[in-house]
């Protein structure tokens, strides 16, 4: 397998006496969709925050293409190619969907001294925004004010904004949160489409979606990695069933199976 693009080694995050993430080592490779599962409070969102730079690590290391990036701020990490979307929709509500993506793309072409030119006229940024909207399936909604979009469309916009920055790594925090069946299906298709070109880390509660798209699954419990492997292995693992269901019963994706936590 090729070298990992984003890797962590013994990553820890403590809040006072509470260990939210403990000794997590994982790798993200281009073209591989890596899902993160676990019950509520397992530390999944914290881990994403550590990787994106929204939270500083207590100890451990994060490397990007072999280079240590543990001390980089969130904006610096974005600039080197780590993009993320948020669980709680984090868009520019007052701007149109297009402007949301355009602004995101502008981060790669800041041009701060071009004080007299209209930002919207700059072709590379405009085109990057259009491509991102297209990829996320929002081309038709480009001129709608973001706050007026449906919830599902806003979740798509979340990802479109991350895409507009042209990242190599995508950290997606519960992109399907609050979505109905149709919207979720569209999102799953989007994830499948993005998989080959990016190194994706997906945090999700929707088990069906996860088993449909993930090539590697890591299960976290209480901030630690419980198990990591292919979907089949995870599905069959007694330890995982124990953690989720409290017993060895069937997991999602199987007949007469229940849904995970």
């Amino acid at each position: 397998m090729s070298d990992p693009i984003l890797a962590t080694r013994a990553l820890c995050k403590r809040f006072g006496g509470l260990s939210a993430v403990g000794d997590v080592s994982l790798e993200l490779h281009r073209g591989r969709l890596h899902a993160l599962l676990g019950p509520n409070g397992a530390g999944k969102s914290t881990l994403i925050n550590l990787l994106s730079g929204d939270l500083p690590a207590t100890s451990g290391a994060i490397s990007y293409r072999g280079r240590d990036v543990t001390s980089l701020r969130a904006d610096q990490r974005s600039r080197i190619g780590i993009g993320r979307s948020y669980q709680k929709t984090n868009i520019f509500g007052a701007f149109t969907a297009f402007e949301n993506c355009r602004l995101a793309a502008q981060s790669r072409f800041p041009r701060p001294l071009h004080v007299f030119s209209d930002a919207r006229a700059f072709a590379p940024v405009r085109q990057a925004a259009e491509r991102a909207l297209e990829a996320a399936g929002l081309a038709a909604a480009a001129d709608i004010v973001a706050a007026e979009l449906s919830h599902g469309a806003q979740r798509q916009l979340e990802i479109a904004m991350a895409l507009a920055t042209g990242p190599e790594v995508l950290l997606l925090d519960e992109p399907l949160a609050g979505m109905g069946a149709d919207e979720a299906g569209r999102m799953v298709e989007l994830l499948k489409k993005l998989g080959p070109d990016h190194a994706i880390l997906l945090v999700e509660h929707d088990m069906d979606a996860v088993f449909a798209v993930a090539e590697v699954i890591t299960v976290m419990v209480n901030g630690q990695v419980l198990e990591s492997g292919t979907p089949e292995r995870i599905r069959a693992s007694p330890a995982v069933r124990q953690a989720y269901l409290g017993h060895d019963g069937p997991l999602a994706g199987e007949p007469a199976g229940g849904r995970g936590a």
Binding site: A74, D75, Y86, R111, P112, F116
Partner: protein, 320 residues
């Protein structure tokens, strides 16, 4: 936007025609208002478009004013074309220096530290030798606008000053309009809308906030310079927090986040002040009470009231 541009053109025409119709007293009054409008617009860049509520903007107004007063020679007039850019530059540098510290502070802290730093400037001009103390400085001559001996206009004449200030107002308005649709200006607005996401998208937000603070300070300094130009006199009250509070008030009167709001707010503010001062010596009481009532009942300002009539309810803009 077309309706907006027509309204702007009409307003400009009215302002341009005004001196022909008005007595000198009113010409000078409107000149004063236009200077305050420049001051208010400069703060609007910071507050209305970048989302940084500063309660210390008067500091840079004062720096611009004192720059003229301190650089004016005693026995001959200063040169406009030298002192004006110098004042703007100085105010911008002061804003850069202060901003370097205060932009690190967020939210409420930012309000408090801007107030504190402005008080520091006030202290320097009021209590030390630099500003010659609380009596202020009088200038014996108005600056001349001469280039190689030729002066195209005489700032000592009220109408000439009026048109010069009007030209400055239009220039500042046009500059800010252009700035706000440029990449830099859009970044400012992104920061106001959702700073956290801007960081997450890869923008080095500190630098942009500092840039906004500096530009706002420089333009504020321009307004201060013009004020010193008009009155021929400066004193530390130009940097008082009353001044900082008043310019914020102008913004809320005129409506935040729209450039014309600064202009409307300046007119409304001066109008209020004149009305209250004519009613009673205790006008500050009326003024303060009006501010309180205004915030409670009309937080969108004058423009906000107009908005409620203009926009159909189904398209209410999202209010974060």
């Amino acid at each position: 936007m077309n309706r907006g541009n027509i309204a702007l053109a009409v307003a400009l025409a009215l302002l341009a025609a005004f001196p022909a119709a008005g007595a000198t007293f009113y010409v000078e009054l409107v000149t004063k208002v236009m200077i305050l409008a420049i001051f208010a617009m400069s703060l609007d860049l910071l507050v209305g478009y970048t989302g940084l509520v500063s309660f210390g903007h008067a500091a840079f107004y004062g720096v611009g004013a004192y720059a003229l007063a301190l650089s004016a020679p005693r026995y001959e007039p200063a040169n406009l074309w030298l002192t004006l850019p110098g004042a703007v530059l100085l105010a911008g540098l002061a804003a850069l220096a202060v901003g370097f510290f205060v932009v690190r502070a967020r939210g409420t802290y930012f309000i408090m530290v801007t107030l504190a730093f402005a008080q520091m400037f006030h202290f320097v001009f009021h209590d030390t030798e630099i500003g010659r103390g609380s009596d202020g400085i009088s200038m014996n001559f108005k600056p001349v606008a001469s280039v190689a001996g030729f002066a195209p206009f005489d700032l000592g004449k009220a109408t000439h000053l009026y048109y010069f200030v009007l030209a400055a107002l239009v220039a500042v308005f046009a500059f800010l309009r252009l700035l706000l649709r440029s990449p830099l200006g859009r970044t400012f607005q992104g920061i106001k809308s959702n700073e956290h996401r801007m960081v997450s998208l890869g923008f080095p937000v500190f630098r942009y906030k500092l840039a906004s603070f500096t530009i706002a300070g420089a333009i504020g300094g321009l307004a201060g310079y013009l004020s010193a130009l008009q009155f021929g006199f400066v004193n530390p009250e130009l940097l008082s927090w009353h001044q900082s509070g008043n310019v914020l008030l102008m913004l809320i009167l005129g409506g935040l986040g729209r450039l014309t709001g600064g202009v409307v707010g300046a007119f409304a503010f001066v109008a209020l002040q004149e009305v209250f001062q004519s009613l009673t010596d205790r006008w500050q009481l009326l003024f303060g009470a009006t501010i309180v009532l205004l915030v409670i009942f009309l937080p969108g300002g004058v423009a906000g009231v107009a908005d409620r009539f203009r926009r159909p309810p189904s398209r209410e803009p999202f209010h974060v």
